[in-house]
């Protein structure tokens, strides 16, 4: 599925779950803004906007520990369940998306909330 505009609650297929090793994430850039999908060590799957709310960095490149992803650049941590941020430099939480695994494939239902992009980054 392709496209640049997010329909309300639109569902997109990301990839087979087996393509994301446990403890890692992937960036999915076929939607705007791009999203990041994480497969935790515990086997859970989460999706958030990929761009850090502080500066233009890809959270999929970050450091996943439990249900927290740490931005690869400036080390703010976001809770994958809620999007909440733990400490500066980011001060705003990241948008989360619902996920589901069907027949071994990861699907994401895109949030209809407004994304929270950093200064200098626009859609």
């Amino acid at each position: 599925m392709t496209g640049t505009a997010n329909g309300p609650g639109r569902r997109v297929r990301i990839c087979p779950l087996s393509d994301i090793p446990a403890g890692e994430g992937v960036r999915f850039a076929e939607v705007t803004p791009p999203i990041a999908v994480f497969h935790t060590e515990d086997g859970e799957v989460f999706a958030i906007d990929d761009t850090c709310t502080h500066q233009d960095a890809s959270l999929a490149d970050g450091w996943l520990e439990g249900c927290e992803i740490e931005c690869p650049l400036h080390a703010s941590k976001f809770d994958l369940r809620t999007g909440a941020v733990d400490a500066p430099p980011a001060k705003v939480g990241v948008r989360t998306h619902a996920t589901m695994v069907t027949d071994g494939d990861v699907w994401v239902e895109l949030s209809t909330d407004a994304p929270r992009l950093p200064p200098g980054v626009s859609l």
Binding site: W63, A75, A87, P88, P89, G120
Partner: protein, 405 residues
């Protein structure tokens, strides 16, 4: 004894993070934060970049979240001038005295200044410094940056993008050799030339010219560099001079155990001004990186509150953004490592360099390689904080109170 009051000296990143960590970890007593500047806690890294360009405003720099209420008594615009460790009593520059059950010293560092220079030579450490520099950096002006360290390089890159004519001078033969090593330092410093900034290495500054105002820089080989603006980016020193005579050991910054205790019970140090015992070096070591100043206060708060601290501290980490390239470094260099290029190249500005000692990876540098960099960073050995695992931690006398003479 239950801790009823904590005084934090320093309202920068480490001071704010300490206040935040204490509250998050359940401290509900009186919390006072003393800051020498008039500003509430703000973020310094953008001062050499996005704040200079105007992308970020002063309000954007705030470290405090919009819904954050730490219930802090702020004492701003007041520097500390002395400390009596036995009574945890601070003297401030207006003569007032403040005391608490515990004192946390988080006074940071101070930009080193060149002696005997004419007016108009900038340094960059504080928000007020950045406001002054931003005003001076007008398109078409000639900027000379003294010192090709990270601050100097970031300002040079920002000023070049802003339409200034930029020259960087560096006394050492290779920029950044201290933090990165000779080869990698040269690779990173190569960004200057590739973007049109003149870099002069290995020739010290002999004099700054101008009487009412600086108008040029003279190098030791006689070269005259005319300048409308001069920035001295020549390092920083720990802001611990005010502790001289307190009896605390400030020979390497404020010397502390692996969890931030000084030799005086109830007196702690954290952030740029402090040198925590580093188990991987076997000695106190001052780390001046942003992430350490944000993260160590979490361990320090546990120390103050008597709760179990984290067992280890991550390897030090810093970043620098120059000419649109994101440079990241993590780990501990001593200088005897072998360095291998494991991805990318200098020319492509996408270098990934890995430092090994006796076969073990001890540090990593990346240029626009956040994913590979993070993978290696995760595997770097932490320094241990657990009492009993190494000498000089909290259960042993890592530091001794000096005789006050």
């Amino acid at each position: 004894m239950t801790l009823r009051s904590v005084v934090v000296v320093g309202a920068g990143l480490a001071g704010h993070a300490t206040a935040r960590a204490l509250r998050r970890q359940g401290f509900d007593g009186r919390l006072t934060v003393i800051g020498a500047e008039w500003h509430r806690p703000y973020d310094r890294p953008p001062l050499s970049k996005e704040f200079l360009t105007g992308t970020l405003t002063e309000a954007d720099l705030s470290l405090e979240g919009s819904d954050e209420n730490l219930d802090v008594d702020w004492v701003l615009g007041r520097g500390a001038t002395g400390l009596e460790p036995a009574t945890h009593t601070l003297t401030l520059d207006d003569g007032s005295r403040v005391s608490g059950d515990a004192v946390v010293v988080a006074t940071g560092s101070t930009a080193r200044r060149l002696p005997g220079v004419p007016p108009g030579v900038h340094t960059l450490r504080t928000l007020d410094d950045a406001i002054a520099l931003r005003t001076a950096l007008q398109p078409g002006a000639r900027l000379v940056v003294i010192g090709a360290g990270f601050i100097g390089a970031e300002v040079a890159a920002t000023a070049l993008a802003g339409g200034l004519d930029v020259t960087v001078v560096e006394a050492a033969d290779t920029p950044l050799a201290g933090p990165l090593g000779t080869w990698v330092g040269a690779a990173v410093a190569g960004l200057h030339a590739r973007h049109g900034v003149t870099l002069r290495c290995g020739v010290p500054v002999a004099a700054l010219t101008g009487t009412d105002r600086v108008d040029g820089v003279t190098l030791a080989d006689g070269t005259q560099l005319p300048a409308d603006v001069v920035l001295a980016g020549v390092g920083a020193t720990p802001a611990v001079g005010w502790l001289t005579g307190s009896g605390l050991d400030v020979t390497k910054g404020l010397v502390c155990t692996a969890l931030g205790r000084t030799a005086a019970p109830g007196v702690y140090g954290v952030g740029d001004c402090s040198a925590w015992y580093d188990s991987t070096r076997g000695a106190p070591f001052r780390v001046e990186h942003w992430t350490d100043s944000r993260d160590r206060p979490v361990a320090l708060a546990a120390t103050l509150l008597g709760t179990p601290p984290p067992a280890g501290l991550r390897a030090p980490y810093f970043w620098s953004d120059q000419y649109g390239v994101r440079i990241q470094f993590a780990g501990r260099r001593r200088g005897d490592e072998t360095v291998t290029v494991e991805a990318g190249s200098t020319e492509g500005a996408d270098l990934l360099a890995v430092y090994r000692r006796e076969g073990e990876i001890v540090a990593v540098l990346g240029m626009d390689q956040p994913q590979l960099f993070t993978r290696i960073r995760r595997a770097l050995p932490p320094s241990m904080t657990e009492p009993g695992t190494d000498p000089g931690t909290d259960t042993t006398a890592a530091t001794t109170l000096l005789e006050v003479t």
